[in-house]
Amino acid sequence: MGDTLIIIVVIGLSAVLMFIFPLMTMSDRTDDVSQLTVNTATTEFVDSVITTGKLTLDKYSKFVENISSTGNAYDVEMELKVLDENPGKKTTQSVDKRIGENVYYSKYTSQILDELDKTPIMLLKEGDVFIASAKNKTPTMSQQLKNFFYSVIGNDTYTIAAEHAGIVSVTGSNYD
């Protein structure tokens, strides 16, 4: 009787150790690698936009393609804070010493994609701020396993997320 119980426990333990533990470790590592890939891709995407002053459909598609190569589906969000210097100009006309109060207004993902649909190149100007973020929208294998075993992670939360932002350093031009 005692032996049988031990065997059952050992079989259970072995199953956990031989299959589930490696599976969970592997899927955790996969998430780490995905996180790294998404991080790098997001940084590269934002950097290439801010150093050229150009956001193109091509760059965006390449970015989405890069992060999708991790096998997950992602929610990509972009925000462009457009610098409006006009209010600052009006101010300096009346007050000598003020440097100028600039206003930013934002364009969000859907607006940016709409614009990119119309023309494949969107030109930004020096001083604009560009932000991009990516979060996984389908649960990763590691999330699914954790959900199954611990039921601690809700279905809606994400485990892979990256965000990068920067100030555009050059006014974009169509002709180079």
Binding site: N39, L83, K97, R98, K125, I167, T171, S173
Partner: protein, 543 residues
Amino acid sequence: MRIQNLAVIFIIIILPISLVLSSYTQNQVKTLSLQISYDNKLNNATYDALKAFKLNTLNSSTSNMANSKLKDIEASINTFFNSIASNFNMAGYDKDVLKHYVPALVYTMYDGYYIYSPYKNTLTDSEKAKSETLPDGENLYGLKPYIYYSCRYKGSSNSKDYDVVITYALDNYITVQGIIDGTAVYKYGYLLDNIGGDYTNNGNSGKDITYRGIEIKEETLQEYIDKDNKLTYVRINGTKYYTEDNGNTWYYYLNGDKMQQVGAKYKTINEEGKQYYKEAYDFTQWIKDNLIDLKASNAVDEKGETLKDVDEQGKNKFGTYKIFDFGGKDSQEGSIEDADSNFNQHRLAVIRYSIEKNLSVAIANYNRYTTTISANFQMPKLEEDEWTKIINNVSIISFLQGLNIGGKVYNGYSIITNTENEEVVRDDAIYLADLDDYGNYYRVTDSTLNNNTDYIGVLNLDFERRVKLNDDGSESYFFPKKQLGSYTSIVNNFVSEEAQDFYKYIDGKGENIAKAYYTALGRERYGMYRINNLQINEINKND
């Protein structure tokens, strides 16, 4: 073997593997994120350097002169090192330490570039000035002499033998120096097709000079010199001269000080736009008469051997095509100013070849100067699109190599370009402004521009804020032009598909818009500072 034993053996095997794998992945993650953060820091520092250069040149009225420009660049280099040191402060590197990891900084300018890298002080004790304290043979960091985007050609054209050096620039301005048919030549100017009108002996059309069929006319220019005063001005050789009394007396600002122009008078009616096209026509004719058969394959190196540089596909960039592929007087297709003309392709190939060659030498030489760092400094391979950025704009290229980032050695570079500066007047640097001070200014590609409205072409820099030194020593800000940026093309920039072909698009916008644009483009390019421009004053002087 009992199943328990198997389980134990399994754990013994898997556990270390999994631990090693996990720590390896963590290390990789750390290395990569460190690399990304270093890239970011380098980008920021380079941007700060460029911004400093732009602000310094914009607010200095002598920034065009070579020694003043050198000071501006040195200030910008200081900004770079200060900025990178503050960025790396947390990582424990300071300015002096970081200097050893920067093998080169490159400043690409209008017709050449500067490389900042170490060199050996070769002055001996007997040669150097008494006040000089630097010891002989010491390694110093500094700017190396300006290198022009130039190329030497040898061959014959129109049955004339030539051995000339052509210096290119970021636009289609070239300088030809050398010997043609036994005579020494030194010619310079813009290459332009599509110039017509009476000046070109092309009949009696009543139009003095035309560009792409649009007549170029004189204009009167006015701008604010402080918050309230708007004066008539002319821009000659990079300096703006103002008049308050309808052209009787003229003055200019020398770094904030008002300087009277003694013995010189200028016309209040500005003819520089016309003059630009006239001189471009004359120079283009001269090229047609003397160097029309010049081929890229005639390019030789300093030893006189044929130049070879292959592209990604293994094709020689200096092939047997004619460099000056003029399209003709009235042909609007295939003209030399098109981005895809042979001339432009060759110009870019020369600029790239020159930078690549000198920069790789500078970085490779750095190994000889550095004793503290064991890394092998090498020039990284730049991407095609990065080269496009460099050779079309004023830019700074910075390199940071040899820092340890965990698993590997950091080897990064950053290229930051600038489209708004006093060095070059690019095609898209001319904005159109409403004549009313409280109107708007637009890019030429703005879809809301109306051909029935009058506009004036303005250089983009004139909309930038300036600093004025007041009599009491305080400073105030003002804008030379008060118009506000259009929301369709300046604040936002909605570009239509057709605007990709710039010149064709402008021609299609209507005569008024095209005239304002072409006149301003000519005027601003003609008014730029150039060392050769000495005769220009005579043109605008009243007889």
